[in-house]
């Protein structure tokens, strides 16, 4: 594939897009595992939400 005399601009555009998309995916995945971990810790210590207590009663 020949990208012509402006190949640098084309490659840079695809690289920047890839980087921003990868950052978004990483943010979502890492945030999910962090929230799950904190929730797990709180549940282990016996902390429950008000709605959960009502459901348990």
């Amino acid at each position: 594939m020949n990208l012509g005399p402006h190949a640098d601009f084309i490659v840079a555009a695809y690289a920047v897009t890839c980087f921003i998309m990868a950052a978004l995916v990483a943010w979502v995945v890492l945030d999910y595992s962090a929230q799950r971990r904190i929730l797990g810790d709180l549940e282990e210590r016996g902390v429950t939400r008000r709605s959960q207590r009502k459901a348990d009663q």
Partner: protein
Amino acid sequence: MPVIDLANPARFLSFVNRVLPWLAAATIVMFAFGLARAMNAPDDYQQGATVKIMFLHVPAAWLGMMGWGVMSVAALGTLVWRHPLADVAGKAAAPIGAAFTLICLITGSLWGRPTWGTYWVWDARLTSVLVLFLLYLGVMALYWTAEDPGRGSRAAAVLTLVGAINIPIIKFSVDWWNTLHQPASILRMGGSAVDPSILRPLLIMTGAFTLLFFTLFFAAMRNEILRRRVRAMRLMQAQSA
């Protein structure tokens, strides 16, 4: 499951957990297909191979504006119905919309240099998209820095609805003012002016970007619901201490 059931955060979580893997898989397949078509698309007779930047720039621009549209609907839900899931949706969509708008600005700049001879010009289209990006940052700042999350959400919802005025300005800026940016060539009266050999990959890439947007959006909404659970549990813990 009736759609109205999804307004319940617990049911929404279970819906997202089931849908997300399929949505992510569809996004990957669509991107693979779209990129293959985009790389094999012919060069433009004027712009040469730089037309390949369009396959990123145009979908990112559309998604940047659609993100604000999603946030505007969510803002109505927050201000009118005070629905917590609407607030969650607004907060989740903001960084994703901002990221797509940033992609649009950077790829546009990289496309502009070989095509126009400059990275940036203060014309109506470019400036209004930059304003959209700054509005996204403003909404994110309101969501993330407010001491009282409720007040922060309402302020962000008001800014979102005020900022919605900018969306038609972006769309029609190329018609209302004399701009270096070209006028609409895809969504316009009389049909698309783009050759089908370039239009087809562009539409597939737009589909891939849209799938990615909703995959990230649902995942970010799930994270936000969990974050609010954590906050509620910490408050209960503090009260019982």
